[in-house]
């Protein structure tokens, strides 16, 4: 704000400055974290030294059991995301394309969607105990809606002129689906997929924490109950890095799939 006194510097310089500031910010955060227990502001039993947490992280990364747990979490995440996406795309396309179904299901969708998926945890436990299926119920329920809603938006977005054109040329239902509906809805599906991937990870880890099926979430809960603060913080950092990775990868996929689209839509669609 105000009159811009600085001459606009070159793009490269600005990017370098940004990267540098980012690194400084990160370093400052780690330094403050280290300082708080050092100065005794918070007992290191509750907030362990960052150096200890880092040491634990490198120790874990050399432990096969750690990777097995990570794999366990990612398996539940992957299966849940795949099933939810498939179901949401199929159901969303059918319901989105048939006005009668869209109107008839509207209330159901509006009621089911806001139900917090974690409310289903007790039910899932009753049905499946501490097996992976219990976690999958929660993951699928939560991520399904993210994709489903986007598919409905996407199918509704089909250009009226394009649809009439397709009709007038006598395209079959199958041809219309593959040449008109899919390309229009694809960017929406990708946005839904990105949101669903993040939600699925959250619930995969939550389920492990609450239900107790093996994975990173269970390790967090075990560290907590064992009073192992260093382990707890280390695993929390791992879940954060995992979340970051998922966000970056799926944002990249979304960008790639949208590059041909005239407008890369913002976050508001959520």
């Amino acid at each position: 704000m105000g009159v811009n006194l600085r001459p606009p510097s070159t793009r490269g310089l600005r990017a370098a400055r940004k990267a540098l500031l980012g690194v400084v910010g990160l370093a400052a955060f780690l330094a403050v974290w280290q300082l708080i227990p050092t100065l005794g502001l918070i007992n290191s039993q509750y907030l362990p030294y960052v150096t200890d947490v880092a040491a634990r992280l490198s120790e874990e990364s050399r432990d096969l059991a750690f990777w097995r747990r990570l794999g366990s979490t990612l398996t539940a995440w992957g299966i849940g995301l795949a099933v939810a996406t498939l179901a949401a795309v199929v159901l969303g396309t059918i319901i989105g394309m048939v006005p009668f179904l869209r109107r008839a299901t509207h209330t159901m969708v509006e009621f089911l969607r806001p139900i917090p998926s974690v409310a289903l945890i007790p039910l899932a436990v009753l049905m499946f105990g501490i097996q992976r299926q219990a976690a999958l119920v929660i993951i699928i329920y939560a991520s399904f809606w993210q994709v489903f809603v986007q598919v409905i938006y996407g199918v509704a977005d089909i250009d009226a002129v394009a649809r009439d054109t397709a009709r007038s040329f006598g395209l079959t239902r199958r041809e219309r689906l593959s040449h008109l509906v899919m390309p229009t809805a694809l960017p929406y599906v990708m946005t839904g997929l990105r949101l669903a991937a993040a939600v699925a990870l959250i619930l995969a880890i939550t389920a492990e924490m609450v239900i107790g099926n093996p994975g990173l979430g269970r390790m967090i809960e075990l560290s907590r109950s064992a009073g192992d603060a260093v382990g707890l913080y280390a695993f929390v950092v791992v879940t954060g890095l995992l979340g970051l990775l998922v966000n970056i990868v799926f944002r990249f996929i979304e960008r790639r799939s949208l590059s041909w689209h005239q407008s890369v839509r913002g976050e508001e669609v959520l």
């Binding site: 009159v3 811009n4 006194l5 001459p7 606009p8 510097s9 070159t10 793009r11």
Partner: protein, 270 residues
């Protein structure tokens, strides 16, 4: 005309931008003065730095060197003595405020009683013929009406000079003629000083008492032309006058020369 006091004085104004390929001289050396109650049009070839000049005058951009004076005191930032009407009315009016709210906004920090403020707003809206639309939102109005709102906002602000940056470039021809007459009318009935930047040669001759023709970048004032058309102007009769045709042909030639850069040799030595 001697009693007319000097309102705006621009002396040796220069603006250099830093860019990736080294400094770019947008404005070379601009000198002119404007008297109170004048309507001065500034025309120039596209890309000649009209908008840069205007931002320097309005105190939105700091010149590299040179002087802008209002009533003998230098302009270093946005001044209460100036009100700007931007070309992009859609982005200059705030869509979350009503028409009245937009006009009233700059008056909020002026020390006015509520009644005075109300009166100024109502009066300004009446002046542009929008008294009936006060409670609408800008986006509910046509482009021409939106620009009228922006003009009303400038009027209500009670500036000494109204600076207009290609205000009618984005409206259709019919609306444009109406808006031009509105500007003439405000100038005549309210004795407003107006600095009007445009790329339209006919518009500059039709509106102005003086036309400043700018050279191509780095810009200087190539010609300061007095428009000796009668003060009472009319879209049909004025534009049909032989003198109007002469003047517009003259300005047109000047712009052509400016585009070719022929006029550089004629630059007066300082």
């Amino acid at each position: 005309m001697l009693d007319r006091s000097t309102l705006l004085r621009v002396e040796r104004l220069r603006k250099v931008y830093e860019s990736a390929n080294g400094p770019v001289e947008a404005i070379g050396d601009i000198n002119f003065t404007m008297h109170a109650g004048e309507l001065v049009c500034i025309v120039g070839p596209s890309g000649c730095g009209k908008t840069t000049l205007l931002k320097c005058l309005a105190g939105l951009l700091r010149p590299t060197s040179g002087l802008v004076e209002m009533h003998g005191s230098p302009v270093t930032g946005p001044s209460p003595a100036m009100a700007v009407v931007f070309q992009e009315y859609g982005r200059s009016l705030y869509p979350w405020l009503t028409v009245r709210g937009n006009v009233e906004l700059p008056l909020r920090h002026k020390k006015l009683s509520r009644a005075e403020r109300e009166k100024l707003v109502t009066d300004a809206l009446e002046a542009v013929g929008l008294g009936h639309a006060a409670r609408s939102h800008p986006w509910q109005l046509s482009g021409g009406m939106q620009q009228r709102v922006a003009i009303a906002r400038a009027i209500a602000y009670q500036p000494e000079v109204m600076i207009m940056d290609e205000p009618f470039a984005a409206v259709d021809a019919q609306t444009r003629a109406d808006l031009e007459d509105l500007v003439r009318e405000l100038h005549a009935t309210r004795n407003m000083s107006i600095l009007f930047v445009t790329h339209d040669i006919d518009e500059s001759v039709y509106l102005g008492e003086r036309v400043l023709v700018l050279s191509k970048s780095p810009t200087w004032v190539q010609e300061d032309l007095a428009v000796d058309l009668p003060a009472e102007r009319d879209q049909i009769t004025t534009r049909a006058l032989p003198r109007f045709t002469e003047l517009r042909t003259h300005v047109y030639d000047q712009i052509q020369r400016a585009k070719r850069g022929d006029a550089v040799a004629a630059q007066p030595a300082h």
